[in-house]
């Protein structure tokens, strides 16, 4: 902690800071060791359960149930093959992807102009509206499950992808508005004014100048909309039966006559982690900001 802090300052402040430099090097040799132990233990705690799932997904069911092995003795990809060839499994992924992408597109499309309005203008009821959006992000899906079920049944959208996509807008639109507003307020207002003086119309300014400036914000908002829609189970399960059934719902109903097919269940779990794991590197510095609704 403090060791990294001293190094740059030592050069600029002469005199009384200089004697502390050897102390800093001594600390550097000693202190991080404790940190390394702590971080290793913590990361081990995080990764062991995931490793165990991966381990099981690569075993046969006989090996899972009859022997207790720390790594797969006869490595098999049969569980993954089952999922990728059996329509009752892979359609779950396709269904999930369809409504998640729909939701992300809808959320961003409506949130972009709204976030711009919140970040640039004051208007009647702006604070109340902003607060009301937040309450929807915080609202428990359990409260909305039954009314959604009835609402979408009555308009004939039950068991369609668009129903789940719209239902997830409940928390994803507020999320996108808050995150985008957090990024947009960082862009100086002078840019808008200069563009208007230069004769840009609002749509042209927004697309040509403003959007590139907040590109990372849009990326982060899209990522979080994708994630929160992808990880949600209750609403997507309540609103679907067959045609739009998501992978999460399929996973919670895998008990067959011969018990649970653990290997396939584990493989399905690993496959649901893949989309997040693929982009995690690019958003690593924005995870905190996204979860905190753009406020950090």
């Amino acid at each position: 902690m403090a060791d990294t802090a001293t190094a740059p300052g030592a050069a600029t402040i002469p005199g009384d800071v200089a004697p502390s430099v050897p102390q800093a090097t001594r600390r550097r040799r000693f202190r991080p060791n404790g940190s390394v132990v702590v971080m290793t233990l913590y990361l081990l705690f995080l990764l062991l359960p995931i490793y165990w799932l991966l381990n099981m997904s690569l075993k046969t069911n006989t090996e899972i149930l009859n022997e207790f092995t720390l790594w797969p003795r006869n490595l098999t990809l049969a569980n993954y093959a089952t999922i990728l060839t059996d329509p009752s499994w892979y359609t779950g992924y396709i269904n999930s992807l369809i409504y998640v992408v729909m939701n992300t597109v809808i959320s961003l499309a409506v949130a972009l102009p709204a976030a711009y309005a919140f970040s640039r203008y004051r208007f009647m009821g702006d604070n109340h509206l902003f607060f009301w959006l937040l309450t929807n992000r915080m609202a428990p899906p359990a409260v909305f499950a039954l009314p959604f079920f009835q609402l979408y049944s009555s308009v004939g959208l039950f068991d369609t992808h668009i129903a789940v996509a719209l239902a997830h807008c409940l928390f994803n639109v507020p999320l996108a508005v808050w995150i985008l507003e957090g990024f947009m307020r960082g862009v100086p207002k002078e840019i808008d004014e200069t563009a208007y003086i230069d004769g840009y119309s609002f749509p042209r300014f927004f697309i040509r100048i403003f959007t590139p400036l907040i590109a990372s914000g849009i990326g982060v908002a899209a990522f979080f909309c994708f994630m929160f829609s992808w990880v949600e189970l209750l609403l997507s399960r309540t609103l679907t039966t067959v045609d739009a059934k998501p992978i999460a719902a399929i996973m919670t109903r895998t008990q067959g006559a011969s018990g649970i097919d653990w290997g396939v269940l584990a493989a399905a779990g690993i496959l649901t982690i893949v989309p997040g794991a693929l982009v995690i590197y690019f958003v690593r510095n924005y995870i905190a900001k996204g979860f905190a609704l753009g406020r950090v």
Partner: protein
């Protein structure tokens, strides 16, 4: 930033307003509607006034679920917040190791909630799970489907596993914003490690920690999927938290009136905490600018 007053901005907000009105106001009005009516089937409804609210306020079932919920949220906050700060203080500040830590720590945050449940359901099983098997081999009795204490420990550890990284990442973001000059001043004053934490790092992290506490409280207060997958609310009703109980009532038994009254009271709690959250956020913004 100085904002101009411009009522035309409403046009930019309108799509959001309409969409959220469709997906939030209509369902909420349905709930309000059910909460004050009774039905004997055939879509015939009768005015019931505040009867359902009265019934729910005197029902042991709701108070017990609320009690369990409050206990759950309190326990996970008491563990995750200090642990998260501790982890953040030990994270490498920059370079390759910092990136690696960020990536690995973010991993649990991005796993679908039902898979989090599945992971711990498997991990804790005595026959096929590493944790359950190890505890069993050590002679510690552990069975989360039969034993209340074991079930609670499992869902608490699962939540700590799932969300501590979020607290750590937020605290880390707060720590990184502290200028080096503060540490140099502390060094000149020969401040102890504890004093640096207490008088520099903690006050500077106060804002993000408040966000972390409120976020964790809200999300743990509406937790459904993870405990549902692991324990299904059992053994008995031992881990039936508010959302699990509400879904059982509304979608399992179709007790519309009580479930609606329950929902509204649940929603009011959320509204209250959201307001606290909003106030904290706006105050932070004011301080920041």
């Amino acid at each position: 930033m100085d904002k101009t007053i411009n009522q035309k901005a409403w046009f930019l907000v309108l799509p959001v307003l309409l969409l959220v009105a469709f997906s939030a106001v209509i369902p909420l009005m349905t709930v309000v509607n059910y909460s004050v009516q009774d039905t004997f089937g055939n879509n015939q409804f009768f005015w019931a006034g505040l009867e359902w609210f009265d019934e729910m306020l005197h029902s042991d079932r709701m108070w017990n679920a609320l009690g369990r919920q409050v206990m759950f949220s309190a326990i996970i906050l008491a563990i995750e917040i200090p642990l998260g700060i501790f982890i953040a203080l030990n994270m490498p500040k920059s370079g390759f190791w910092s990136s690696l830590c960020l990536v690995l720590m973010s991993l649990p945050l991005l796993i679908p909630w039902n898979v989090v449940g599945t992971i711990w359901q498997i991990f804790g099983r005595v026959d096929i799970g590493l944790l359950g098997h190890t505890l069993d081999a050590l002679g510690i009795p552990y069975n989360y489907t039969q034993n209340t204490v074991a079930a609670w420990i499992t869902i608490v550890v699962m939540d700590v596993w799932h969300w501590t990284s979020l607290v750590a990442l937020l605290a880390f973001a707060g720590l990184k914003s502290i200028p080096d000059a503060y540490y140099q001043a502390a060094k000149i004053d020969q401040a102890s490690r504890w004093a640096i934490f207490r008088y520099i790092e903690l006050p500077k992290m106060a804002g993000v920690l408040m966000i972390a506490i409120l976020l964790r409280f809200m999300d743990s207060f509406m937790i459904y999927t993870e405990p549902f997958v692991v324990t299904g609310g059992g053994p008995g009703n031992a881990t039936t938290l508010l959302s699990i109980d509400l879904v059982k009532m509304a979608l399992g038994q179709f007790d519309l009136g009580p479930a609606a009254a329950f929902s509204i009271m649940y929603y009011l709690v959320i509204l209250l905490v959201s307001w606290v959250f909003f106030t904290v956020m706006t105050n932070l913004d004011k301080k920041g600018s």
